[in-house]
């Protein structure tokens, strides 16, 4: 229909249309992103899946370089955080102490000793509480519960405090959380040893919870009757850092 004189003077009614188009584009963007992430909904049942040990070989991943995670979706990359200096362990010098009032035993493990426990591998998404995430991480390690059970846990074994080798950072899990199939002490990511920033030689991986629970550069595992607050929890962060609606029994 030809425009009348008033229409010519006023122009075209574009503002509201542009607004609605932008909202539509935004809604479509969210729907597309949701679709892209759909296979990765975190629930207690699927937050991690077991995969055959050795199923990720180094050749499948990109060449590792300092600070860059091999074999990841391009926009997804780890951001490495540390509250203290990054420790510079060698395999020869590193030891892991397992002790505490919740154990009748106790041990000090070299990396080779740790690797002698039954190896497991899990595929999971690593989620940081600040919002970034890295999908399809395959971690190789040993279950925390296998280490605990090898040290004769007693009735006082209620909580575990994990100590980082920087001498500053700690975090905790309940014994129930630590006995999960996917609470592991990992030394390998996607077929390669962890890089220093990632926690070399060994870090805790518990994909049910945000990354700050996943202590790097592990030096000590203390099994005890009392609950300590971790480094960030002492500063007000959630102790139950689940990435999904937590189970009612915590």
């Amino acid at each position: 229909m030809p425009a009348g004189p008033e229409d010519v003077f006023r122009g075209r009614p574009i503002g509201r249309r542009l607004f609605i188009v932008l909202l539509g584009a935004g809604a479509a963007g969210i729907a597309l992103a949701k679709h892209a992430y759909a296979g990765d909904d975190a629930t207690p049942g699927n937050v991690a899946t077991s995969v055959p040990v050795g199923s990720m070989t180094p050749d499948e991943g990109r060449e590792p370089s300092e600070g860059v995670h091999p074999n990841i979706v391009p926009p997804e990359r780890f951001r490495y955080y540390s509250v203290g200096d990054i420790p510079d362990f060698t395999e020869r010098a590193w030891r892991l102490t397992v002790d505490g009032a919740g154990l009748d035993g106790g041990m000090e493990l070299r990396l080779a000793d740790l690797k002698a426990f039954p190896n497991v591998a899990i595929r999971s998404t690593f989620r940081c509480v600040t919002g970034w995430r890295v999908r399809n991480c395959v971690w190789r390690g040993v279950r925390v519960r296998d280490i605990v059970d090898a040290n004769s846990p007693n009735a006082k074994a209620k909580h575990i405090t994990f100590y980082a080798g920087d001498g500053v950072y700690t975090d905790t899990l309940t014994i129930g959380q630590a006995r999960s199939d996917h609470a592991i002490l990992a030394w390998e990511l996607n077929g390669r040893p962890l890089i220093r920033e990632q926690g070399y030689p060994v870090r805790l991986i518990y994909p049910d919870m945000y990354g700050y629970k996943n202590v790097k550069w592990l030096r000590r595992i203390e099994v005890k009757p009392v609950h300590d607050l971790g480094f960030w929890e002492q500063r007000g962060w959630d102790d139950n850092a689940y990435v999904y609606t937590p189970p009612s029994n915590g």
């Binding site: 006023r10 122009g11 503002g15 969210i30 937590p246």
Partner: protein
Amino acid sequence: MDEPPLRLVQRFSGAERTLHWVYALLFVILLLSGLFLYLGPGQNPFLDRRELMRSIHLDAALALVALFLLVAAGSPGTLRRLRDDVEWFDRDDARWLLWVLVPRRLRGRPLPPQRRLNAGQKLNTVLTAAATVGFTVTGTLMWGGSALPTSLSEAADTWHLLLTEAMIPLVAGHVVVALLFPSTRGALRGIVTGRVRLDFARRRHARWAETLEQGEDTV
């Protein structure tokens, strides 16, 4: 005889200025508190105040929604007028957008005459309004967090961040034009006091100035 050059005319009402400045204040609070929720160790001096930052961010977001509800309830004409101002784009607006970044000496002629809001301000208003709705929707989905499928809350998180990255240059450009460009600085008086000099209105908003002189425009 010409009008005295210092004659002032009303450009923005009290409700419009309140909307603008409270929105600006809340935007800065949201941006900073959001930044301190987003940055990690080594970059963030407020990591040990994460809960406080989260409360500030959520309260400021609620205040932003309340601001629009209050203006809509208390001064419905304000939002209606804003909507009418940004609704129509004509050839002068298109030409204005085309030429505005070209220096005057290369352009060789003044920019096309504009109404109370020029084409850039109209576009900025529409983009800001759409982004505000986007922030509100994605923020609500993120706030729903663990009660929603992670694919939805993470999709919302991705777009909340992208919107922030898109809004920062838009707001930065708005502030630079308002504060630093001598030729447009006259507009700052309007959004602070509500009134601008008539000679500024004639120079930068000639079609609006015409309606003023014909007595058709009242705020």
